[in-house]
Amino acid sequence: GGIITQTPKFLIGQEGQKLTLKCQQNFNHDTMYWYRQDSGKGLRLIYYSITENDLQKGDLSEGYDASREKKSSFSLTVTSAQKNEMAVFLCASSSTNERLFFGHGTKLSVL
């Protein structure tokens, strides 16, 4: 079996700060995803990547950058944190569309 590791587990930032979230997978999956989970709104896709150095925008990409420099890792950057923003960011990977494997999430709070 494999695992998806997201770091950090908790992230506290200041308004306007650039913040980076990291994700590692050892499934050897081609496709990786970043989703944002807000209470009552479900999961919304920010970015995904179908292979190393590929980036595809999701519906929520504005305000974020992503980077896939290696097959096993996918990072997400909040370009300018918004005051009072609170959300959980979920990383996932898959080899096909049949099943996504998710990490436990990074919980972001902005002061």
Binding site: G42, N97, H104
Partner: protein
């Protein structure tokens, strides 16, 4: 455009009772449909999926779901719930044309009371 609606944000049932969690989708072509579950402090896990064929699909832990094209629905069911089924359940949809992208509903938080 495709979308998924889970009309019930919270559902509470007693242990041993039957369960139905509702999911409605909007998509002009035939969708691929999924149910994922998020247990407390764990990542989302696939419960079951539907691509084609028999409209009733079986999943893990005795869950099943029924696809209805006429009703644009994919409701999740279980005959007898256990306290350990308490979790958040997400319905999701993807399409043949862009199968890398999953669209999720807003989730239903299930609480099973003893």
């Amino acid at each position: 455009a495709q979308s998924v609606t889970q009309p019930d944000a919270r559902v509470t049932v007693s242990e041993g009772a039957s369960l139905q969690l509702r999911c409605k989708y909007s998509y002009s072509a035939t969708p691929y449909l999924f149910w994922y579950v998020q247990y407390p402090r764990q990542g989302l896990q696939l419960l079951l999926k539907y691509y084609s064929g028999d409209p009733v699909v079986q999943g893990v832990n005795s869950f099943e779901a029924e696809f209805s094209k006429s009703n644009s629905s994919f409701h999740l069911q279980k005959a007898s719930v256990h306290w350990s089924d308490s979790a958040v359940y997400f319905c999701a949809l993807t399409s043949m044309s862009n199968y890398n992208v999953l669209y999720f509903g807003s989730g239903t938080k299930l609480t099973v009371e003893p």
